[in-house]
């Protein structure tokens, strides 16, 4: 059965909304690829992956925001601001020409400062950020959507 796959999307991180879980799984897979590219110091691949993550995350957030808008979700503005913060970090990473050290150092961005665990690599801290985001924000949205038979 699909969506019982990687550890990241195991029950604690699954919202029950198929498109949302699918997108989260894809994002976790991107973070792994980015980590690998950074370790290999493959500048072209780092830049390519950052662009792909940005495009994919933007598309994913758009879908969530469309549902929030259509369904009158009360936390829409706050949730959208969180999305925008994440996209800004990615936008800062892309012009770094795939310099692995500089890209990874964005882990110190203020967006991630509230996370208790604080890895020094961007690829690692994005994974933790997404886990927290799913638990704190997406799970609330998903529960709302499922109550309204939308997901």
């Amino acid at each position: 059965m699909l969506f019982q796959g990687p550890a990241e999307t195991q029950p604690g991180l699954r919202t029950g909304v198929i498109w949302q879980d699918h997108h989260h799984q894809t994002l976790f897979e991107y973070f792994k690829k980015l980590d690998k590219a950074c370790r290999a110091g493959d500048a072209a691949q780092i830049t390519h992956l950052l662009e792909e993550v940005l495009n994919f995350a933007r598309g994913h957030f758009e879908v969530e925001e469309l549902y929030m808008a259509e369904m009158g979700f009360q936390e829409f503005d706050a949730h959208k601001r969180v999305h925008e913060g994440f996209l800004k970090v990615l936008a800062k990473a892309i012009p770094l020409h795939g310099d692995a050290a500089k890209v990874q150092s964005l882990a110190s961005d203020k967006l991630f400062q509230e996370l208790q665990e604080a890895p020094t690599d961007l690829s690692a801290i994005m994974r933790i950020w997404l886990q927290r985001h799913i638990q704190q924000h997406d799970a609330v949205l998903a529960a709302f959507l499922l109550r309204h038979d939308r997901g």
Partner: protein, 139 residues
């Protein structure tokens, strides 16, 4: 929030309609690039289409799997064919880059994408969508 999917091509499933709108947006980008003479835009559109199609198709196929959709084989075959055609278009585009008749190739590309997408939505996605909705899956 608005998307670019024409009303008659809506399926009623928000994520699907939004993602179709992104495809239509890419077609519009190709047409705009022809008008403005920005050939480099086409390269970006083809790369984005490849990634975006993979995500969109995988998601539709996940819903098909969850619902034991009886038409999944034919539907997935069309997805696979589209992915092959995008790869072929990328190859053709690489070969034509820098040549004077790139606009003609780009116009053919946009016409093909629009034809394929409209036909696929009408014949496949608008059949799949009510099936998903009837299966009482959250959509």
């Amino acid at each position: 929030m608005k998307h670019l999917t024409p009303t008659e091509l809506l399926t009623g499933i928000l994520w699907q309609d939004l993602q179709h709108g992104v495809f239509f947006g890419k077609i519009a980008e190709v047409r705009q690039a022809v008008q403005t003479g920005k050939a480099e835009v086409i390269t970006g559109v083809l790369a984005a289409l490849e990634t975006y199609a993979l995500d969109h198709f995988t998601l539709e196929e996940a819903y098909m799997l969850q619902t034991d959709y009886p038409e999944s084989k034919g539907h997935q075959a069309e997805h696979q064919r589209f992915e092959e055609l995008v790869l072929a278009a990328k190859s053709e585009w690489r070969a034509i880059q820098g040549k004077q008749d790139w606009r003609e190739v780009a116009e053919d590309l946009s016409a093909f994408l629009e034809f394929w997408l409209k036909r696929h939505i009408c014949h496949r996605d608008q059949v799949l969508a009510p099936y998903i909705q009837r299966a009482s899956l959250p959509v």
